[in-house]
């Protein structure tokens, strides 16, 4: 720890290094940081040499072991996928939820259920601030949850909204979080800063999302604007990698864009992320893979249960009939592990390149036992 102000430390370690994921964890904690578009800026330097911002940022040096010990049963931990009590394939029972959702509608269904049952008082989901630019919003009405359905391809600073809502007179909040956001929320659990620790007590449920990468907002906007009218977009999707494309549905028809064109639009910080399945959450959800092909599997989700809380929620939702289940093909677990491990290897290589020292993975402890299992560190 240096004697520089925390804002300067975060600027050097994260912002200037291009590691910021725009999770929003440092927004709304204090007036020194501002979020705009998909960027975080330091408005003015703080004079404290340690503080909440540093503690919760998912890209400052993170003690992964400590997080696992607090959150999970050691017996459940896998090297590639984090804590895994069970892998399921699910979807929302309600076809109207599925109609609005990206794939199976599992996230919307679970959040709606959790709100209805009073498991959480409010859900922090991604709303839309501007075309293609999301922002976190609080939802207390279960019927309105579907308004926030659908994947976002630009990161939403959802934790900023959590920070704001945590100040309210509220006991439990549920958050739908990308892996970096889930990490920030997890770091709040082990923070020694009292107000952060108080806020963390309000985290009732974290629903993590599988994530490969996200786009830079301006670049995505500019690229799409060349090909179509942005206001006419009704739906966007990125099918499995073998399709090598992104599909954009508009009121005037369907546009297919090659992944090659989109590569330049990827948010650079995503190249340094080692977490494909949002390991630090209660339940993680992504899109399913089935042997019958994408046309069927696109209507289903992969779901990983990680904690007791997550287990209980899934069982209650199943018993209430709002979640449907599909058999999980035998090979799916291994395939997921392979994909997840691949992301870790790529991230490690890029982090070592960025640090300039093999073995220095910046915010990731290179001696973390589970990480080492997945990587070959030179």
């Amino acid at each position: 720890m240096t004697l520089e102000p925390t804002t300067l430390q975060l600027k050097k370690l994260v912002l200037d290094k291009g590691l910021c994921t725009q999770c929003g964890a440092c927004h709304n904690l204090c007036p020194h940081y501002l979020g705009h578009g998909d960027r975080t800026v330091v408005f003015h330097d703080c004079d404290k040499t340690s503080g909440a911002c540093y503690e919760v940022c998912p890209r400052t040096p993170t003690n992964l072991e400590a997080l696992r010990q607090v959150m999970f049963d050691p017996a459940d931990i896998t090297a590639e996928l984090g804590a895994l009590k069970g892998l399921y394939i699910t979807r929302a029972s309600d076809p109207s939820i599925r109609g609005k959702a990206q794939h199976g509608g599992t996230v919307s269904a679970l959040i709606q259920f959790a709100l209805k049952e009073g498991i959480i008082e409010k859900a922090v989901l991604a709303g839309e601030e501007e075309i293609l630019l999301p922002a976190g919003r609080g939802f207390s009405d279960p019927e309105r949850v579907v308004d926030a359905a659908g994947s976002r391809f630009v990161v939403s600073p959802t934790v900023a909204a959590f920070n704001e809502l945590a100040r309210e007179d509220i006991e439990t909040l549920g958050v739908v979080a990308t892996p970096c956001q889930a990490m920030a929320l997890a770091k709040m659990w082990i923070s020694e800063v009292s107000r952060i620790h108080e806020a963390s007590k309000k985290i009732g449920l974290v629903l993590g999302l599988f994530c490969g990468w996200a786009f830079n907002w301006k670049k995505l906007k500019n690229l799409l604007a060349e090909k179509l009218e942005l206001e006419t977009i009704t739906r966007m999707d990125i099918p499995p990698s073998r399709f090598h494309s992104m599909i954009v549905e508009t009121r005037d028809g369907r546009v297919e864009i090659s992944i090659d064109e989109l590569r330049d639009c990827v948010r650079p910080s995503c190249n340094y992320c080692f977490d494909m399945t949002a390991e630090f959450s209660d339940i993680s959800v992504g899109s399913a893979r089935l042997p019958s092909g994408w046309d069927e599997s696109r209507g289903w989700n992969h779901l990983i249960v990680r904690t007791e809380k997550g287990q209980k929620l899934l069982e209650m939702a199943r018993d209430a009939g709002c979640i449907e289940f599909h058999d999980v093909p035998e090979e799916n677990l291994d395939r997921l592990k392979t994909a997840a491990a691949g992301k870790k290897r790529e991230a490690a290589a890029r982090l070592a390149q960025k640090s300039g020292t093999p073995g220095d993975l910046l915010y990731v402890p290179a001696d973390d036992p589970l990480l080492r299992d997945c990587l070959t560190i030179p």
Binding site: L29, C30, P31, H32, L34, H36, R39, V41, V42, F43, H44, C46, D47, K48, G51, A52, V193, R195
Partner: protein
């Protein structure tokens, strides 16, 4: 009672140097007095404004110094007496007119008082204006005390009428703002009816060189008059060990030094009335009786170099002299003089031990000063709209993220270049230059300049100088955002009126020339916001940083001091002591440490912020920046 218009010859008043100059103008029977505010000259016209109705003279603040001098000259062209006052930069602005008027001449008397600011204590530059007299070949008188400040103005008017030339009276802060006894003279009333004689036009073309020759002839006559001026003086022994040649405020330091060292019978002090033209014969007479000569003057080595020229022409007669001054390094060539410099130098030259304070006294003094006088930055007043403006600029540029910068200008808002405005101003030169430089920056994107450009300009500055730059920007489709900071005041110099305010210096109503109307007439998109609304102002600035062309955003909010003078009841704000989290992570004394309005106090005892009720104007800006929403507005 209007003190300066007292018709009471022989009465002694304690007057500021600038007041003495004003009294001199009154006693000279000037009809028209003009200026633009600028320290250290503003008090001259301010004082004359107070007397104008009593005396039936026309005294006004004009849009800039060039126009002010043109107005004063108009009086002199029709046989009346005109007077103009300005600071060194004002002379720069008026110089093109002056350097034509010197050749075309005048009929009535025209006196131009120029007040320099050595060290640039309240200026954007440090400059010795006397060089304009050399360049324009115009008489330059240097009053060296308060009585002379009055009497030499009268001398200047007489000289001006005799020669048919404008005459410059030169002052510096040390004279303009100090006070001394002045014995009043009689007030001359103007009895002339103004008339423009068309048989004698004031035009230099088609042969300015011929007019130049006529000017040179006038200056030969001027030298004859200056040689005999009663304001030249010599004190000291006939053959001094050290001859000091001084002029203007320099004389104060010399007299104090000679007295401090009791060197009256070793040092000769020659004080000249004019440094252009120098009284050559008088100087030669004194040089012949000296071996070592020291030049003491505020500003540059103007007098020094002038005397060296005279010396060079007569070196075979005078022999080798030891010459000391600014150009040889015995005195600093920049910055304002002070008595200690001269006393120390004289003590060294003459080998006289200087009476010094005992060491413990000096140490005790330093200790007391450091305890009782904390170091302070220049700051905006509590409630100043400029604080809010710079906060919004800082925020907008941070959010924009492309390293935008600000071309700045002159006024209270000029302090934005320092901590008061979080250093949100990056260039500052002359009046209106912010807009001018920005209009250039806004053309450089073809070379790859990608940073957004903002210009800031005050309301008074805008009328003074920015309009041509804005026209230029519009014509050349330069891309930048012009922020006009309209606080309805020429605040920095003392709340003199400007064309947008709809009133004159004497308080009469006058047509207001609309600022937004002017910008629209030029063809710029114009928006007006209240800078106290931080959110809206930030969004307006941010929104205007991407579009091409020049855009005008008027940030309109009355100066906090003007509001206070209008007697408008302030509303109140209060810090909720329970909500304030003070020094904790999440705030870290944001309002007192970062925002720094003097209306906010950090109470180390309670560990919270609170409002200084004596200072706070209730503007409500701090209400918007508190992260805990602990500051609330109340009705007054």
């Amino acid at each position: 009672m209007n003190r300066l218009s007292e018709d009471n010859t022989g009465k002694t008043l304690l007057l500021m140097g600038n007041e003495a100059i004003a009294r001199g103008v009154i006693e000279s029977g000037a009809s028209v007095c003009a200026g633009y505010p600028g320290n250290p000259s503003s008090d001259i016209i301010d004082a004359l404004v107070k007397e104008s109705s009593e005396l039936g003279i026309h005294v006004e603040w004009f849009v800039n110094e060039k126009v002010a001098l043109e107005v004063a000259a108009s009086a002199a062209m029709v046989g009346l007496r005109g007077f103009a006052a300005m600071k060194q930069n004002g002379l720069n602005v008026a110089s093109d007119f002056l350097l034509n008027l010197n050749l075309s001449g005048i009929r009535g008397g025209l006196v131009l008082a120029v007040c320099d600011d050595p060290s640039g204590i309240s200026s954007t530059n440090e400059q010795d204006s006397r060089l304009f007299a050399r360049m324009g070949e115009l008489p330059l008188l240097e009053p060296s005390d308060f009585q002379e400040a009055k009497d030499m103005v009268k001398e200047a008017f007489d000289l001006s009428e005799t020669l048919g030339l404008p005459v410059i009276v030169h002052s510096v802060t040390r004279l303009s703002h100090a006070r001394g006894n002045v014995s009043l003279g009689s007030i001359r009333k103007s009895d002339k009816t103004p008339y423009f004689d068309r048989s004698k036009p004031f035009i230099n073309v088609p042969a300015p060189a011929r007019a130049h020759l006529r000017l040179k002839e006038k200056m030969v006559r001027c030298l004859e008059i200056i040689e005999k001026s009663p304001f030249n003086s010599y004190t000291g022994p006939e053959r001094p060990e050290l001859l000091i040649i001084t002029a203007g405020a320099g004389r104060f330091y010399c007299e104090e030094a000679i007295h401090n060292l009791a060197a009256e019978n070793r040092v000769g002090l020659l004080n000249v009335a004019s440094t252009f033209p120098l009284p050559r014969d008088l100087i030669l007479k004194r040089l012949a009786l000296a071996s070592t000569v020291l030049f003491v003057e505020e500003g540059g080595p103007f007098l020094e170099e002038g005397v060296k020229e005279i010396y060079a022409d007569h070196v075979s007669d005078l022999g080798v002299l030891k010459l000391l001054g600014k150009s040889t390094g015995e005195l600093p060539s920049t910055g304002e003089l002070n008595p200690d410099l001269i006393i120390d130098l004289l003590s060294q030259q003459l080998g006289i031990q200087r009476k010094k304070r005992p060491g413990e006294y000096q140490q005790g003094l330093s200790r007391a000063a450091s305890n009782l006088v904390p170091a302070r930055d220049l700051a905006f007043c509590a409630g100043c709209p400029h604080r809010a403006t710079y906060w919004a600029i800082k925020k907008a540029l941070a959010l924009d993220g492309r390293d935008g910068f600000v071309c700045g200008d002159i006024g209270c808002y000029g302090m934005g270049s320092g901590p008061a405005g979080w250093s949100q101003m990056d260039t500052m030169q002359a009046m209106g230059s912010g807009t001018g430089v920005a209009s250039g920056m806004g053309l450089l994107d073809s070379f790859g300049l990608k940073q957004p450009v903002i210009a800031v300009c005050g309301d008074s500055t805008f009328y003074h100088a920015a309009i041509p730059a804005l026209i230029n920007a519009r014509q050349h489709e330069s891309s930048f955002l012009l922020l006009i900071l309209d606080n309805s005041a020429t605040a920095m110099t003392g709340f003199q009126p400007h064309p947008g305010l709809g009133k004159t210096a004497t308080g009469k109503t006058a047509p207001a020339v609309g600022l937004e109307d002017l910008c629209r007439a030029i063809g710029c998109p114009v928006e007006t916001v209240d800078p106290y609304d931080i959110g809206k102002t930030t969004q307006s600035i941010l929104g205007n940083l991407e579009s091409p062309g020049v855009k005008v955003l008027v940030l309109k909010q009355t100066c906090a001091l003007v509001r206070a003078k209008q007697g408008l009841p302030p509303s109140k704000v209060k810090v909720d002591q329970k909500k304030c989290i003070g020094d904790s992570c999440g705030c870290s004394r944001f309002c007192t440490r970062v925002f720094k309005c003097p209306g906010l106090i950090w109470d180390a005892g309670t560990g919270t912020a609170r409002i200084d009720e004596a200072m706070c104007t209730g503007c409500g800006v701090c209400v918007q920046i508190c992260p805990e929403r602990a500051i609330v507005s109340e009705e007054a």
